[in-house]
């Protein structure tokens, strides 16, 4: 590809935090090319031939894992999959041991999802100490409540595709901000690309110190929607809440659910996003999810292109 000489500033993708604006732009530009490629009759390119990728999923995932696998396959990488529910000393093998074992079999890139915040940062820091593993590159596919950088990049790509640019655009992230890695990565990437960010949700799901991230906070969904160009409706993740942060889903959707009536009553047309999987009728109703406002399926499609771009660019750094 023509930008071959352009390189990322990092060997790993651990979070949006560790990236520069030029990295984000390079990834998005590269993803445009890959989006064009995956819409051709022959979707596969040989860019990652002889590169082996291990997908290590210590936490359940359907779409992120599928999206990564497809991205890897379309780049002609060799793939191994590893999944375990939960990883800790109590389960036997440590994360470092698991990674070292996989890497000893000549794996080049690890795509990792893990329940512990910072797990990818930790792993990347540790592997440097092992000669047989030092070559490995890590892609964070979600680490607990910390970051989910590829989701943020595909979200940024999708907004840019729809609105042309992120500069000056207003994006509201609605829902469980406290327990959401998608929210945190989105906040960092959107701000870096020049968008204004607001978070909206029940007071119990907005961290007390969130405004230190330089964003607006709003608790009224209608006001938030009137303000924004784009609304990213997060999935309510009851599995991450040890105690219920609101009484019932019904009551949540009464206040923060987006339905067609609300959408149509706004003074302007906004773009509706959702990282999936949707709880239909909770965060958004079916008629919104399937409406012309929604770019939810574009996000999914773009996910593959963005992940191809990331894999391609990182492999070029090895």
């Amino acid at each position: 590809m023509e930008q071959k000489e352009e390189q990322l500033s990092t060997r790993h993708l651990l979070g949006i935090k560790g990236l520069k604006k030029s990295d984000l732009e390079l990834i998005l530009r590269t993803a445009e090319n890959f989006k064009e490629i995956i819409n051709r009759p022959i979707k596969k390119v040989p860019s990652l031939r002889d590169v082996t990728v291990a997908n290590m999923f210590f936490e359940n995932s359907t779409r992120t894992r599928l999206s990564f696998e497809l991205a890897e396959k379309r780049l002609s990488a060799d793939i191994v999959n590893f999944s375990a529910s939960g990883s800790s000393v109590s389960k036997g093998e440590t994360l470092i041991d698991t990674a070292n074992n996989i890497l000893a079999m000549k794996v080049d890139i690890i795509v990792m999802r893990h329940s512990a915040p910072g797990a990818a940062v930790f792993l990347a820091g540790q592997l440097k100490n092992y000669p047989k593993s030092a070559h490995a590159q890590i892609i964070n596919a979600g680490d607990g409540t910390h970051e989910h950088p590829t989701q943020a990049l595909l979200d940024a790509f999708s907004i840019r595709e729809k609105l042309g640019s992120l500069e000056g655009k207003k994006v509201v992230i609605v829902g469980d901000i406290m327990h959401s890695r998608v929210a945190l990565s989105n906040i960092f990437s959107l701000q870096m690309l020049g968008a204004e960010v607001m978070v909206c949700g029940p007071t119990t799901l907005i961290p007390k110190y969130v405004s230190s991230l330089g964003l607006k906070v709003e608790h009224n969904l209608r006001k938030a929607l009137e303000w924004c160009d784009v609304a990213n409706m997060l999935r309510i993740q009851l599995e991450r809440q040890s105690l219920k942060y609101f009484p019932t889903l019904r009551e949540y959707s009464m206040q923060y659910g987006l339905d067609k009536k609300l959408l149509d009553s706004l003074s302007k047309k906004i773009v509706v996003m959702h990282p999936g999987p949707i709880n239909r009728g909770v965060e958004i109703t079916s008629d919104v999810a399937d409406s012309e406002h929604s770019i939810i399926l574009d996000q999914v499609e773009n996910g593959v292109a963005v992940r191809m771009a990331i894999l391609y660019l990182l492999a070029g750094k090895s």
Binding site: A116, P117, T145, H146
Partner: protein, 421 residues
């Protein structure tokens, strides 16, 4: 055995030689002579440039993991580290395995450490197995040599039980050492709740958890007239609560772990588990309030909170790593590095020696002729870099390897012998 300590600056506010540079002659463990120049023949001469000497330091909060996890630390290795850190006495917390909750456990520690170079002061558990359900045999442990009672870092949640413990220990002037916490607010928290925890997406431990637990206790202390001490204050609000309690003349004293003065939550930005401690590193404002609290005599004691952990329990994803650092060798240099320009050397030394001795009811160890020699040798001005080679603990979970610190410990004199680093 005769020792002569040459030209040492004496730092002891109770001594008539305070602030003076003297030679000290120790014969058979007793200070025989203090003079400008002593020319007697001695078996060992201790002459170190810049040498300072103070009454021996006492660490009020340490874990030596013995019995239970001797591979992390045992009495011998812990005591060796304590001597290197300048401590002539160490209070060992109850969180051994099994818990230190009965007379025979207290006796085990006393007996096993009897021939070692540092005094061991066991802290018995307040409740059976530190479970917070029923009082342990506090009187019996007190008679066997327990200097205080604590469930280590477990907060006694039942207020009635805490009231009873505070009341019961009054019978024999016992001391309760408590860890201020509100488990329902702090549980699953990984770090201080604040801007950094939001930035890292980590669950926070609000300052309120410590302050709410402390407030509750203070009502019980006022009600019972019992005596309580906190080794591990971490928040500005807690310093304020202790200040109020002291104003009311409640029998409350407080301490802080040396590293709590040195680090803030910002150090966690790399997710390095060596910085996972309990209480967590808090904001700069909190660290400043702790230093000010020491200066204003609201905080009486600086401790090490020595918590050895092996690689298998520490070198993990942040969520899974255990809390704690080894710090008994570095507690003084770390505190001295932060505080030397904020409080006088005499005040600083009282936080390590006079105050813990007063709170625990131990002998003062004053540096005067005729007194039993129990002292610490150090130099508050010299700088050094702490290295793995110098570490004598069985564990290596220190954040201070490779860090330059000011204030070098040269050793101790305790139980009739000098241990020089």
């Amino acid at each position: 055995m005769k020792y002569i300590i040459k030209q040492a600056t004496i730092v002891d506010h109770l001594s008539s030689h305070d602030g003076k540079k003297k030679d000290i002659l120790i014969n058979n463990g007793t200070i025989e002579k203090i003079a400008d120049k002593i020319t007697d023949k001695a078996d060992q001469e201790i002459a170190i440039p810049g040498l300072h000497v103070s009454p021996g330091w006492i660490d009020m909060q340490a874990n030596f993991r013995d019995p239970g996890h001797e591979y992390k630390e045992n009495l011998a290795s812990g005591i060796a580290a304590a001597a290197k850190g300048g401590f002539t006495g160490v209070c060992l917390q109850s969180s051994t395995d099994p818990a230190l909750d009965n007379k025979s456990q207290v006796e085990y520690l006393k007996k096993t450490s009897a021939h070692l170079s540092v005094h061991i002061y066991p802290i018995g558990a307040i409740t059976h197995a530190r479970e917070g359900k029923e009082m342990a045999e506090l009187f019996d442990m007190n008679q066997a040599g327990a200097v205080a009672f604590s469930d280590d870092k477990r907060f006694v949640e039942n207020p009635k039980l805490m009231e009873l413990a505070l009341n019961y220990t009054k019978n024999f002037d016992g001391l309760i050492i408590h860890f201020a916490d509100t488990p329902a607010l702090s549980s699953k928290g990984m770090m201080h709740e604040g801007e950094t925890s939001v930035f890292l997406g980590m669950k926070g431990i609000p300052s309120m958890a410590e302050e709410q637990g402390l407030s509750r206790d203070l009502y019980l202390v006022e009600y019972t007239g019992g005596r309580i001490h906190y080794n591990l204050l971490s928040t500005a609000g807690a310093v304020g609560l202790i200040k109020e309690a002291k104003k009311k003349k409640l029998l409350v004293t407080a301490g802080v772990a040396a590293h709590q003065l040195y680090f803030t939550d910002e150090v966690l930005k790399g997710f390095e588990s060596v910085h996972k401690v309990n209480p967590p590193y808090r904001s700069q404002k909190d660290a400043d309030a702790l230093a000010a609290g020491l200066k204003d005599k609201i905080i009486d004691v600086i401790c090490s909170d020595h918590s050895p952990e092996d690689v298998e329990n520490k070198n993990l994803e942040f969520d899974y790593a255990r809390n704690g650092i080894i710090n008994i060798q570095t507690a003084f240099p770390v505190a001295n590095t932060v505080l030397r320009k904020k409080i006088s050397l005499s005040e600083l030394i009282q936080k390590f020696s006079g105050n813990p001795r007063g709170i625990l009811g131990l002998p003062t160890a004053t540096i005067e002729e005729g007194m039993t020699a129990e002292m610490t040798f150090f130099d508050p001005e010299s700088t050094f870099i702490f290295t793995k080679e110098e570490n004598v603990s069985n564990s290596a979970n220190s954040p201070f390897f490779g860090v330059e610190l000011t204030g070098k410990v040269h050793g101790i004199f305790c139980k009739g012998n000098a241990v020089i680093n």
